[in-house]
Amino acid sequence: MRELLEYLARQLVDHPDEVEVEEFEEDDGTLVLELAVAEDDYGKVIGRGGRTANALRLVVKAAAVKDNRRVLVDIVD
């Protein structure tokens, strides 16, 4: 999941080298992925009205189904 989110984010930004995903697990087993990108790339991973951020969440969620996992994608700055 982490690799997928990293890969997708790198395709969208001007500074792929600065894409970072932190991964941790909450007590209830939810996988949390925190995405950080270069300062001027946030607009590219969030998109107009949050559309790109939502698209990233939906695709990562679809990938989590096979592992039967709940996953949250946070975009942090």
Binding site: E3, L8, L12, K44, A55, V59, A62, A63
Partner: protein, 155 residues
């Protein structure tokens, strides 16, 4: 001779292959391209997960494919991603609703609003009704509630 594919088409194919792999569906991607659009068709078994509720996952994939295809490049084209004939089935449904709205607008002589749709679907319906006599269509409202309105044409 096969024409060389654009970088955009290559990027779409790579992105989709990665997503299919991560979601874990056994499917193939076929890419075609013309002057206006890059079109990707996904065929395989059990693609429901890839399509999602009301097509929201396939629309998300299409959006990411579009954003990834033209990162920083000129010469934008449309990017369409379809899975298991979903868009055709969806278009048939949208056209059915549009026909009903036209009938209703002409009958009552007043505008009729369709359900909210994304930009891709609004264009499908708008094109479908473009040459229809006696009515006009326009979009109204703010995303994600933006929708088409079918109205009797002004004389």
């Amino acid at each position: 001779m096969t024409p060389a594919r654009s970088e955009a088409a290559e990027r779409v194919e790579e992105l989709l292959t990665r997503i299919l792999d991560a979601v874990g569906v056994d499917a193939e991607v076929e890419i075609s391209e013309d002057a206006e659009a890059v079109t990707a068709v996904i065929e395989g078994e059990d693609l429901g997960l890839l399509i999602g509720r009301h097509g929201q996952t396939i629309d998300a994939i299409q959006h990411l494919a579009y954003r990834a295809a033209f990162r920083g490049a000129d010469g934008r084209k449309r990017v369409t991603v379809d899975a298991a004939g979903y868009r055709e089935r969806r278009a048939a449904l949208l056209q059915h609703d549009a026909d009903e709205a036209v009938e209703e607008a002409l009958r009552i002589g007043a505008p009729v609003a369709l359900d909210a749709m994304n930009a891709v679907e609004r264009r499908v319906v708008h094109e479908y009704l473009r040459d229809r006599d006696g009515i006009e269509t326009y979009s109204e409202g703010v995303e994600p509630d933006r929708h088409l309105v079918v109205a009797p044409a002004k004389q």
